[in-house]
Amino acid sequence: MSASLYSVAHSLVAIVLTAIGSVLPSPLRQGITNAGLITALGVIVFAAILLIASMLNTIVLIWFERKLLGRFMDRRGAMHVGFAGLLQNFADGLKLMRKNTFRPDEADGLGFYLGPTAYMVTSLILFGILPVSTGWNSGVLPLSLLLALVVFSFAPLFIFISAWSSNNKYSLMGGMRSAAQMIAYEVPLLLSVVAVVVVSGSFDLNTIVAQQQNYWYWGPLFLALLVFVAAMLAEMERIPFDLPEAEAELVEGWNTEYGGMLFAFFMLSDYVRALVGSFLVVLLFLGGWTMPSWVPSAATSFPLAGIVWFMVKVYVVFAVFVWIRASLPRVRTDQLLRVGWNRMIPLALLSVVLAAGVVMVKCLPIFGCLPNLGI
């Protein structure tokens, strides 16, 4: 797919505005077909499309997790609302929208509302940065990987703000844990990404995916993948690293005091982050939208094939996350931190060293001729 989503949106706006302008008198026509206005509207339309697509995707992801988790638990999961329960999460969302919004008396007004909103916004920004297929994004961001990780690491700040300002002991403890955990796992996450950067030689996600045309990185960089997945689980706060909302001891963790739409923000952002985590795994290690060469070309050449294959991979990765959630208990705070600082960081450093080795092997001339086997 050659045309980027942004250029599609841009030309769509341009066509519409030109059509409107053609029936208007001259001064207005020039005003309305102004290039700056078209660009601005194009950006807005682009953002709207992106937002709706990613939200729909997130909601389907929640449904996917519920159904999958149901089967892991020998039950069915949501199934009566809509076909196979597909409308269940829409019902949840609409209901939460209707619930009355409130703030506990003792809670801090600014932080209580700012926290979830900013958490939501920073999570959604990521969709604008991560490419889903070639040319999905507005243009080439040379440092898109770095930008994505920076935005991704805003979260503990906002979680802590909302936890602190909701003036609840459980929230506070959840916020503390969340901050400690996310900061601890930020380092191995970045280090494992460094391994990918070393091999690909670029911070641009498009380039990284393009580099994987011949071989996907999960084979050579398996150690980095493991570290990345573990750190990503911690960043996403999913079992086995979901201590901040450990239901058993901290009622609902940092969102104990949140209800209604603000709670929906948290809920949705969590899944947005889960989706983004799966995106990153696919982009960095599983070849993004590229497909191995043994896949028949008919399966990869239809329109939007890149997006479809990318999403398939994303859901498979997410299914693994669900599988882990269904079968492992959660760890304790000190264990988590000890694993983070004592095990993960050395392993991540080792993976960087291995990546250097991979780069050296890659320089061998034989390597470029290999067909892409999906590894």
Binding site: G70, R71, F72, M73, D74, R75, R76, M79, W323, I324, A326, S327, L328
Partner: protein, 260 residues
């Protein structure tokens, strides 16, 4: 006698990969099993009472849904056959939660109105004592268990409503306990009796008959006791041992005892 102390079968540090893989493999096995048919009963559409769950399908087929023959004894809502109820009060007496009240239903004569149990399901604890006590088998428990209402007062089931349940021909709890061989009988403290007929009048099974007794000769001058010269005789085989006669007796001359 005491065996070895238990220790975990697997020691702590053998193979770190296995430690995560083992539970994940177990979960995956379960996932594959439940892909075809999870053990969920799709409740309002499928029910555990349905014939397919009644049969012995579950464990044998590797699907933990039911073990069969579960509903034979179930204690749910009562079914009352008003026609055979004899108004003996035994259900009400035996209720530990005092949820049964005897209310008048049409069908009796004006002097002795027919009374049938009215059950408050907000108090009933489904212990089955009432249906065990019922001598005629007209009050029994069905497999009906769904009883959600929006008003508290709708939980009180009048005899008519219980009769409706009966008419639906729901499966009923078939256990009917045999009566013990050594049942006590109603005995009469004869000197106290005044022959008032109250016991015979109120006996729900009509098993008490008043028989004439000879009027004793009184010496002239002494005053003969003022009473009706009749005495109740209880037909033990018909008696349901409800105790109505004891409670209506004005002179408290009837009592429980073993007939010699």
């Amino acid at each position: 006698m005491t065996e070895e102390a238990l220790t975990p079968q697997t020691s702590g540090q053998d193979n770190p990969v296995l430690w995560v893989v083992r539970p994940m493999a177990t979960a995956a096995r379960q996932f594959l099993k439940s892909l075809v048919r999870p053990s969920t009963i799709i409740y309002p559409f499928e029910r555990l009472e349905d014939p397919k769950f009644r049969e012995e399908v579950a464990v044998a087929a590797g699907k933990p849904i039911g073990v069969g023959a579960v509903w034979d004894n179930y204690r749910g809502v009562h079914a009352l056959n008003i026609a055979t109820c004899i108004s003996c009060n035994l259900c009400s007496f035996s209720c530990p939660d005092l949820c049964i009240e005897m209310v008048t239903v049409p069908g009796g004569n004006p002097k002795h109105p027919k009374k049938c149990p009215q059950i408050d399901y907000g108090k009933c604890s489904y212990c089955g004592f009432c249906s065990d006590a019922c001598p005629e088998g007209c009050l029994s428990m069905t497999t009906r268990y769904e009883l959600s209402v929006t008003k508290r007062s709708e939980m009180v089931y009048s005899p008519e409503k219980l009769f409706e349940v009966f008419e639906r021909k729901l499966p009923m709890n078939p256990i009917r306990l045999e009566r013990p061989a050594n049942e006590d009988a109603i005995l009469l403290d004869a000197p106290l009796c005044i022959g008032c007929n109250a016991c015979a009048r109120d006996c729900p099974t009509q098993c008490i008959t008043m028989v004439d007794i000879p009027k004793p000769e009184t010496p002239p001058g002494a005053k003969a006791p003022r009473r009706i010269w009749k005495e109740p005789v209880v037909n033990d085989s018909d008696c349901v041992r409800c105790g109505t006669c004891i409670s209506v007796c004005p002179k408290e001359c009837l009592f429980w005892g073993t007939r010699a």
